[in-house]
């Protein structure tokens, strides 16, 4: 940036910041900022303003570093990105009004100065947006992984008997995982009976039913048996309405009944002592 522009902004920095802070009060309609104490807001605004002005003196890399650590802290405490994008827009507006009233800038230079400030503010906006979206993507990635780990666990409850509790929506990706984990688990735990518990599956449509039927068929192929448990009454009715045939493998209403049936099939039973 041209030194004359920097100088212009620098000499007027106090009035710019003052004016900007006044403007910032009007954009505090957001839930988060509303609930934060005024003291915190003033502090963040001051820090933000200092940082914006500060980037003028720093070289590019240093400015980036500062902005990054500032953004990280804000992301961590949950500040909305919109507060800062709005803030920067406001800052630009304040600067522009300053430029139009400042007579020391020759009219031939106004456009140039205008462009320089645009670029400067834009690069800050871009970096903040990048930092925020980067952090969101990272969180999303971690959640996706966590979800995947939770999505299709096979639990060996007794010798030769395993349970797969399914909770939540089943999509194609998850259906694939269910099949893989079932087959691998059966081999690993030497299961003869696997219980698939769908108590926690909100909707059983034809696709979900289709995946369950396929999984049961694959289980049969590796020499084990599949029992479907946890069919709620309303799910039973929709399955009948849809005309889905689940007659190829046994079904039980509850996990308990399923386990009893599984023990029976492996020639064991639970007795009271």
């Amino acid at each position: 940036m041209q030194s004359s522009v920097i100088e212009m902004i620098y000499t007027h920095r106090f009035e710019v910041i003052e004016q900007w802070k006044n403007e910032m009060i009007t954009i505090q309609e957001n839930e988060f900022t509303k609930s934060s104490p005024q003291r915190v807001l003033t502090h963040i605004n001051q820090e933000f303003a200092d940082l914006i002005i500060g980037t003028l003196e720093m070289d590019e890399e240093e400015g980036r570093q500062h902005l990054r650590s500032f953004s990280e802290r804000l992301i961590h405490s949950g500040w909305p990105l919109s507060y800062f994008t709005k803030g920067l827009q406001q800052f630009r507006r304040v600067l522009l009004s300053l430029m139009t009233t400042d007579n020391t800038i020759p009219s031939s230079k106004v456009f140039e100065t205008f462009q320089e400030t645009e670029n400067w503010i834009d690069s800050i906006v871009n970096q903040m947006v990048d930092e925020y979206t980067g952090s969101w993507e990272h969180t999303l990635e971690i959640q996706k992984l966590a979800l995947q780990e939770l999505s299709a666990p096979l639990i060996p409850v007794f010798e030769h008997i395993s349970v797969m509790p399914l909770i939540g929506t089943i999509d194609t990706e998850r259906a694939k995982l269910i099949m893989e984990n079932l087959l691998e688990g059966i081999i690993e735990h030497r299961s003869q009976v696997v219980l698939i518990d769908i108590t926690g599956v909100p909707v059983v449509d034809t696709m979900v039913a289709h995946h369950i039927i396929q999984a049961a068929e694959a289980v049969r192929l590796v020499g084990a048996e599949c029992i479907l448990v946890g069919i709620r009454p309303e799910i039973a009715q929709t399955i009948v309405n849809l005309g889905i045939d689940l007659g190829k493998f046994p079904t039980k209403s509850t996990l308990r009944k399923g386990i009893e049936s599984g023990l029976e099939r492996t020639n064991r039973q639970i007795v009271n002592l």
Partner: protein, 137 residues
Amino acid sequence: MSVQSNVEVHSEWGIVSARQAGRNLAKELGFAGVDQARITTAISELARNIYLYAEKGEIVLEGIEGKEAGGAKRGLKIVAKDQGPGIKSIREVMEDGYTTSGGLGAGLPGVKRLMDEFDIDSVAGEGTEITTIKWLR
């Protein structure tokens, strides 16, 4: 009645949000648990068809009022719209077990059985619009 919501379907998550919206509306209109499950399952089928065959489209949910012998009745209307390839033979897709995707082929005839009224309007190459209603009893 003014309760209406549109849900865009262009990924599997669209199916989930359409379902969620349907369940909420059904609850609001006073449908019992079994009918809520029927409505959500029907929405799930329709939304999945959109995602599977047309890639994108929308599900419009609306609380409606109709007339019957005893007076006014309330219901939930689902409209599934897409600009996909359309259905070549409506008679065939309404047969149980007919499928072009390797699925169970129970989707559309299933939806018809789950709901009270069912209507398909489809032009090959232009798109499909399915309207279906469940009345509150």
